[in-house]
């Protein structure tokens, strides 16, 4: 177990480095001189040359990568071309907002998906099963950015129950956990939750169905356990794989919320990315993607470790 842990953590390091390399290359594959990713296009020529030397952009690519990596490790992701502020400053609040949105959406999706999946597995082949499977299929097939717009039309435009965009009554400033703020979270979170809902439903249905077909469930019935008692066993058996799927979904939500954040003007990383793309603000683009991808790598690692800890068969092996 201990060695597995160490090995797993060590394995994450080259992955993280490679992820860094991909992010570094993003600026290289972008059309135009990479220097434009650091200084505004209208900067005077001598400033450009000065920066080129300072940043080592006159050196070969591998050296540039090492220099870049060194800056990143120290928390320097460069400055935004649009605002001139350090990328990390903008990212800090954006990551927080996205994480909040993703967590709430993951929670809704997880709860709904677990219920639907369990019901579908227990009542396999019945109308309930078909309904749950259909909902799951719709959940993964629906363009969620469109669903967001449909929800806005319904709950904001027609019914006027919930705000259509933003993250709070006073702009994107301070978040508080009261209805005045939370109501802004409802529609984006629900919109984003349909994907994990669909995937968790499918996973839970598959896992529970497989478990219910196993011999030990017959043993449990043979011992006289009632539905509740059997459910406890099935739940504990299903937990590791379902949690693993859920953990990865959280990562996908973090990285995939760009479209929903755009629809709802939610001030998170996706929104930041979107404006960076429009303004061709490469430092912001690169920094945001790096942070999200590293988050995903760490999440993957955490999921693996938690899964290992939950399963006695691996734990003691």
């Amino acid at each position: 177990m201990f060695f597995y842990l160490i090995r797993r953590i060590l394995y994450a390091i080259p992955i993280a480095l490679a992820v860094g390399l991909v992010c570094f290359m993003l600026v290289q594959i972008a059309p135009g001189d990479p220097i434009n990713a650091i200084v505004p296009a209208d900067a005077p020529a001598e400033v450009v040359e000065q920066v080129r030397r300072d940043y080592g952009l006159d050196k070969p690519l591998p050296v540039q990568f090492v220099l870049w990596l060194g800056r990143v490790v120290q928390g320097d992701l460069g400055r935004s071309l649009a605002t001139g502020r350090p990328v990390t400053a903008d990212l800090r609040s954006a990551v927080g907002n996205t994480l909040m949105l993703a967590l709430v959406a993951a929670f809704i999706g997880f709860v709904m998906g677990s219920i639907l999946g369990t019901v579908a597995a227990v009542f396999r082949g019945t109308v309930l099963d078909k309904l749950a499977v259909g909902l799951a299929a719709a959940g993964v097939s629906i363009p969620h950015y469109w669903l967001g717009m449909v929800l806005v039309v319904f709950f904001s435009v027609t019914l006027n129950w919930l705000p259509a965009m933003g993250a709070g009554p006073g702009g994107s400033g301070d978040w508080e956990w009261n209805w005045a703020h939370v109501q802004f979270l409802v529609l984006p979170a629900v919109t984003l939750s349909v994907i994990p809902m669909g995937i968790v439903t499918r996973t839970v249905r598959g896992v529970v169905m497989e478990l219910l077909a196993q011999d030990f469930v017959t043993t449990l019935r043979g011992k006289g356990l009632r539905r509740g008692g059997i459910a406890l066993h099935v739940l504990k058996n299903a937990a590791p794989s379902v949690l693993a799927v859920m953990g990865l979904q959280l990562g996908y939500l973090m990285g995939g919320s760009i479209l929903v954040e755009t629809v709802f003007s939610w001030p998170g990383t996706g929104f930041l990315l979107n404006s960076a793309i429009f303004q061709r603000d490469l430092p912001v683009l690169q920094g945001t993607i790096l942070v999200l991808a590293i988050f995903f790598v760490v999440l993957n690692l955490a999921v693996d470790l938690v899964q290992t800890a939950l399963d006695p068969r691996i734990r003691r092996a």
Partner: protein, 298 residues
């Protein structure tokens, strides 16, 4: 608790082996009304967008300042689905838009199927350092959530259809490699492939006779399931302004340009998204049906 393991007594004997595998697949498909329904719907849509120049009532680029955002069945059906924010006929735009949306959804998966499938089979069959190299590279791309990777590449390269396609292809290649590699590895270790090798069959023969027939099916089914995701992603890129450029009709872009209309003509503003949803749902259901009919596990 209805699924307790079936006793050996009810193992139904296999039907006579005279019927081919594909006949069995077709028979199972023909008994699956859900898949047939969505398959038919898919064909209908494919036909409609292919025949767009013949059946579309108007010119997709013809704008008009006076009839912007008209409701559904405008002018007694002269504009059956109303008009968009520049007064163009919605039905026509949707028909033409489907061409690009479908193209953007399907082509990257096809290219990724060819490239990823090949790399996966090579990795699975060669093993050793070749496998190591291919699979570890795959791991790196797997470390990005797919939407993020598509946006990152597209965003860096800048807007445009070819850039969007390139980024989508890159997103799907690693996923297909993984499936192809694991299936190939599984097939390679099957007893009868081992015995073919032991009886002196060369590697090319083994790949052609044993590996490909067994690997292509599952990988193909997996790839079809990606089309649905690809449609959503491709339209999503256009929605972000990274795919198609106006005035080209494309569902994701149309959804974006009609966003402001949700207050005035919500029904019309929803139409392009509905098209994406329907297509994606159809591809998903057909892929699921295929998977069941072809008895692909996993």
């Amino acid at each position: 608790m209805s699924t307790a393991i079936a006793p050996a007594a009810i193992a139904v004997p296999q039907p006579a082996p005279s019927r081919g595998y594909w006949a069995g697949v077709a028979r199972r498909l023909s008994r699956d009304p859900v898949t047939l329904f969505f398959g038919a719907l898919l064909l209908l849509m494919a036909l409609a967008i292919l025949l767009a120049p013949l059946i579309a009532p108007h010119d997709p680029y013809q704008t008009s300042m006076i009839r912007r955002l008209r409701p559904i069945w405008f002018q007694d059906g002269r504009y059956p689905l109303g008009t968009d924010e520049l007064g163009r006929d919605m039905l026509t735009r949707l028909l033409y838009g489907g061409r690009l949306s479908w193209f953007l959804g399907i082509t990257p998966v096809l290219i990724a199927f060819a490239i990823g499938g090949t790399l996966g089979v090579v990795a699975g069959f060669a093993g050793g350092w070749v496998n190591m190299l291919i699979m570890r590279t795959t791991d790196v791309f797997y470390a990005f959530p797919s939407v993020l990777l598509a946006v990152a590449i597209s965003g860096a390269l800048g807007p445009g259809v070819s850039n969007a396609m390139l980024s989508l292809t890159l997103v799907f290649i690693p996923q297909i490699i993984r499936v192809a590699e694991s299936t190939t590895t599984a097939v390679r270790n099957l007893d009868y492939v081992e015995s073919a090798r032991a009886s002196g069959a060369g590697p090319m023969t083994i790949v052609r006779v044993h590996v490909l027939p067994n690997v292509l099916g599952p990988v193909f089914v997996y790839s079809t399931s990606l089309i649905s995701v690809a449609m959503i992603l491709a339209s999503g890129l256009s929605f972000l302004g990274l795919g198609t450029k106006p005035p080209e009709p494309e569902w994701g872009l149309m959804l974006n340009t009609l966003r402001t209309a949700i207050y005035t003509q919500p029904l019309i503003a929803m139409l392009p998204g509905l098209c994406i949803f329907l297509t994606s749902m159809c591809f998903n259901m057909v892929s699921d049906g295929l998977r069941t009919a072809m008895d692909v596990r996993g």
